[in-house]
């Protein structure tokens, strides 16, 4: 996860970019989350994204992140010179979140046993994931309070998709 604090036309943005795969990022801007896929990766001139944070020409991950960021940053900013339209805010596919409870393997959610605000103990059943026709109990990785539930019954999840997040993450 990399956090960028931007000041665009006197508006402040905090943008968190989480690398999901080499070409997929989760970008969180304020309350909105976007899954961004990187379709091109060009080396642009030595741009400075964050003051004091030069983009390394060789560091592909930084460049990729920067590019992904470049693509999404127009969305929340009030119509500046939009060269690339931001990706539409896809229905939240609940891509993996750090600190959150993520799906250990692909499958279908059969049961969700908690809701936002619930306090859980470590190991408490949070959901049941049907994988390879086996019902797998997904337990809470730690004690805490559920901040958000990202899945609903019948939903297909992929490996690493977030199931719930905890407050304080």
């Amino acid at each position: 996860m990399r956090r960028y604090k931007l000041d665009i036309s006197n508006r402040k943005f905090v943008i968190d970019v989480q690398e999901l795969a080499a070409d997929r990022f989760e970008v969180i801007v304020g309350d909105n989350t976007y899954e961004v896929s990187l379709s091109g990766d060009e080396d642009m001139s030595e741009a400075t994204i964050t003051p004091g944070l030069p983009v390394k020409a060789s560091g592909t991950s930084t460049t990729a992140t920067a590019n992904a960021l470049a693509r999404v940053r127009n969305e929340p900013a009030p119509a500046t010179n939009a060269e690339t339209p931001a990706p539409p805010p896809a229905p939240r596919a609940a891509a993996g979140k750090k600190g959150a409870l993520n799906a250990p393997m692909p499958g279908v959610i059969l049961e969700v046993n908690v809701k936002a605000g619930d306090t859980v103990t470590r190991g408490q059943q949070v959901a049941i994931l049907d994988a390879m026709k086996m019902h797998n109990v997904i337990g809470a990785p730690r004690a805490g309070t559920i901040a958000e539930v990202f899945v609903s019954v019948g939903q297909n999840v992929n490996h690493g998709d977030a199931i719930v997040s905890f407050t304080g993450d």
Binding site: P104, M105, G123, A131, M132, K133, N136, G139
Partner: protein, 375 residues
């Protein structure tokens, strides 16, 4: 007036009751109890129990020349049709994805067949003929149709006990595997986590797999061609997505109907005098040894893999290298989660289990080749 002859005719049934048939009817009740009350492979054990009961009733017309049970037996057991049709259904239900994602798991499937050959030697030492010994050994694969197929060719007279052993042990997988796993692994080994590797398997690979395996195995082990061919046909239909109706029928209606016929026909081989022999007991005992050794060999081999990989393989998944897909893999996952609820070995266990399914078929073919079946 009623004379002695008339009474004799009326009581023909009662007079034909033998102690063996009574015992076998008792056995059928036990099987029914296991199927209905204990839920042990009821789909197969209930028809077997019914076939056994019907065949042991005195002078059972079902067992006469054109009796239904005889007809079913000749229709699908003597020529191996039924187990092969079941295999199409199994293929249509088996997902080889986890194996394709992690192809080295195929080694665990191979290791999971070791017990077959050890049991073969044990059975030979106990005085069984080589053909009989091979049929007993194949019980270790915990693969009903393969057991029926192999023993149907090599030792048809032992089909009843072998099938009952294979299927009842299959239903005992959840009871037999965990102690074997716990005995052979340390707690630390059982706690090894194996993260899911989300390698995407292309549709092309999934379609190519059954074709390549059929050609390869069929060329290397011709005796396995019928089994592997049908298994992979089912899988090809599933993965191609081109013949959804046939896939559905194979995995559903056809498999269900054949299971009923197969169960009845197998049950009908369990006739008193033939079944109640010490050899039956020996078969049951050897069968469970074969099963245990298969699972143990899988675990031990997985330990070797773990050592070679520097601690990245949880040895428990080796226990899924037997057949009994997908039950063995589920049992492994359950044991893993009992110790660490955040440990999800399921996909790896499924891979080993799918490999075991293929390997047991190959082992069956190898046994047939060793015994020089079919000339």
């Amino acid at each position: 007036m009623i004379d002695h002859e008339t009474i004799g005719l009326l009581l023909k049934g009662v007079n034909a009751v033998t102690w063996q048939s009574l015992v076998m009817i008792g056995v059928s009740f036990v099987l029914m109890y296991l199927a209905i009350a204990k839920d042990y492979e009821p789909l197969l054990l209930l028809p077997i129990a019914a076939g056994c009961m019907l065949a042991n009733l005195p002078l059972s017309p079902l067992m006469a020349e054109d009796g239904m049970l005889k007809v079913l037996y000749n229709m699908g057991i003597t020529n191996e049709l039924f187990p092969l049709l079941i295999f199409v259904g199994i293929g249509a239900l088996t997902d080889f994805g986890p194996l394709l994602e992690n192809p080295r798991l195929v080694l665990l499937g191979a290791a999971g067949q070791f017990g077959i050959f050890l049991t073969l030697i044990l059975a030979l030492l106990l005085g069984f003929t080589p053909n009989e010994a091979a049929s007993i050994g194949i019980i270790g694969a915990i693969d009903g149709p393969t057991s029926i197929y192999v023993s149907g060719i090599l030792a048809p007279h032992m089909l009843g006990p072998i099938t009952v052993a294979a299927y009842s042990y299959m239903s005992l997988v959840p009871i037999i595997l965990p102690p074997i796993i716990r005995l052979l692994t340390t707690k630390n080994e059982r706690l090894i986590r194996m993260p899911y590797s989300s390698r995407k398997i292309s549709r092309r690979t999934r379609i190519m797999f059954p074709i390549v395996v059929t050609v390869l195995v069929g060329t290397l082990v011709p005796f396995a061609t019928p089994l592997i061919g049908m298994l992979m046909l089912g899988n090809l239909m599933k993965e191609s997505g081109a013949v959804e109706r046939l896939t559905k029928a194979s995995a559903g209606e056809i498999a269900n109907a054949v299971t009923l016929f197969l169960g009845l026909a197998i049950g009908s081989t369990m006739v008193g005098a033939e079944f109640l022999k010490t050899s039956t007991l020996a078969i049951l005992v050897l069968g469970i040894i074969a099963f245990g050794v298969d699972a143990a060999a899988g675990v031990l081999f997985a330990k070797v893999l773990n050592w070679l990989s520097g601690g990245k393989v949880n040895p428990m998944i080796g226990a899924a290298g037997i057949s009994a897909f997908p039950m063995a893999a589920r049992v492994v996952q359950r044991v893993a989660q009992e110790e660490d609820f955040e440990n999800f070995l399921l996909m790896h266990a499924m891979g080993a289990n799918a490999a075991g399914q293929v390997a047991s078929v190959v082992a069956g073919g190898v046994l047939l080749a060793l015994m020089g079946a079919g000339g």
